[in-house]
Subunit: 313 residues, 2 copies
């Protein structure tokens, strides 16, 4: 039996290999962990641990049962529409990833609220910009109420903001006004002027943030996207900013990464860019979960953090 890591873009695969073998041994399983494309015996591979793998690479393993993402997202796995139904797809739930994401989002929200970049620029000209203008009341709205969305919703609520949340299926979160389904989208958008996108990427949410969506937002809404680049129709955001439908955006994810040098976002005065650093999965949190799922698979026990293939997350 073996397990294969398929993650061409990751530079810490040797670390994953070593630590995975240790974690499996600690669970009584002597399993060989291989790194694609160097696989000794394709027949023995029962589980693949992947990050942005070449789509066809998974089909080399006739006995494959489980495909695990190396992070929270599974869109790189599910984008293959012909994925065999008997493969179980699992993902990582990492408390530190959640904390890191919420810390990034709090910085983004509060920098806008407190105008920190405005003061950062004023300092360069030795300008004292004291003002008693009251702060604009922020009404954060969270698109997507999974692990990450729920965490930031509760933290913003804890800071005293009036928080709303929107999800595909109804959710009940203490102190948060929640909305669900297409019927309630417009009501949700009228409660918010600071929109945080934490949706999973599925065929229903691809291109979700488009000009029609922005026209439904309250005028001057600020957008933060930390989910996936493909949620956002990038040229529509520029139109929405230039027409004043939105007041600005903080973006950590893009349709093409690294963001191409000539992309109009770089120089747009209302767009703040970070290079997909909002939060990264900590291998030390992820590896024991992968090992645990390998053992569960061997013993036909329920897998941790298994994806609902129909919902896509």
């Amino acid at each position: 039996m073996s397990l294969v890591i398929i993650a061409p873009s990751k530079n810490n695969k040797a670390y994953w290999q070593k630590r995975l073998e240790e974690e499996l041994k600690a669970r009584g399983e002597d399993v060989k962990v291989e790194i694609w494309p160097e696989v000794e015996n394709a027949d023995k591979v029962l589980m693949a641990v992947t990050w942005k793998h070449p789509q066809e690479s998974l089909y080399a393993y006739p006995h494959l049962k489980v495909v695990s993402s190396m992070g929270a997202g599974v869109d790189h796995i599910l984008k293959d529409e012909h994925l065999p139904l008997h493969w179980h797809i699992v993902r990582i739930v990492d408390e530190q990833l959640t904390r890191g994401m919420s810390n990034y989002l709090l910085a983004a929200v509060l920098n806008y609220h407190k105008q920190m970049y405005h003061y950062y620029e004023l300092q360069k000209t030795h300008s004292w910009g004291y003002s008693e203008t009251p702060e604009v009341e922020l009404q954060p709205g969270i698109l997507g109420l999974g692990e990450l969305g729920t965490d930031i919703a509760l933290k913003l609520k804890g800071l005293g903001f009036k928080v709303s949340g929107y999800s595909r299926t109804p959710k009940d979160i203490m102190g948060i006004s929640t909305y669900a389904g297409e019927d309630e989208l417009e009501t949700f958008l009228q409660q918010t002027n600071m929109l945080i996108c934490l949706l999973p990427l599925t065929k229903n949410t691809r291109d979700y943030l488009n000009i029609e969506f922005f026209r439904k937002c309250k005028k001057g809404t600020y957008l933060i996207n930390v989910a996936r680049g493909s949620h956002l129709v990038e040229e529509d955001l520029i139109t929405a900013l230039d027409q004043g439908l939105l007041s600005g955006a903080t973006l950590d994810v893009f349709r093409q990464e690294p963001l191409p040098k000539e992309h109009p976002f770089w120089d747009h005065p209302k767009v703040f860019i970070t290079p997909h650093i909002a939060s990264v999965t900590n291998p030390d949190a992820a590896i024991p979960q992968v090992a645990e799922n390998y053992v569960r698979m061997l013993h036909n026990k329920p897998l941790l953090n298994k994806i609902d293939r129909t919902a896509g997350y």
Copy 2:
């Protein structure tokens, strides 16, 4: 009977006057509110509501009983060492001021943690600065555990940071490691690499943040001062930054405000300046407290938020 507002630098005194008269009327008291220096009958003044008043101005009122700050700080009142002991000094406790302060501090802490200004600069050169370097573990330490210090301590704790706090007298705050008195200062400083100054300004805390203090800090500690400019010996901060004792500073308060155009802080690469905007008292929260204290004074009831004259806060 009357009440006088002495606040030469404030431009909203007419609003205070109107709203204070309304709040007093709502409490059954028909009180004239005057604005210094236009006071009709100095004999009738029982209470002064002040912000950075000229020191001698209070002595014009022979029947003065209560001096109220218009904000949370009372250092502008207590700096007069000859203040008659029979004057009661009160201050404002404003939940919104506390929230605003914590929001500013969270932005400052998380901007350092997440290197947001680094990415802000990278964007200007169209540079994609993706990095998987793990974040430095932040250990926030709060100097001063009053209303504001306790609030930010608990909020940082809620984000998963290991938080320590230091105060003159021992405090017990759930989940926070607290230290008190001179004996425990060095132990406290060894637990922290992100120091937030929220001390009251008293004769004991003036010039508190000086080179001797910085030498006791963990090497590379980051400093945030949002209390008063006079807590910090400004030239000592520059020495500490240039010698690498501290890694950087975010400052909202200064010994002279506005900060003089030629001050070395403006161009120091490790200093981020904001113009005393971290948080301002909301008049609509403060005015009812002042009215309430006026009525309590008339009926010899205990005053709200009275200062301990010996402690100085």
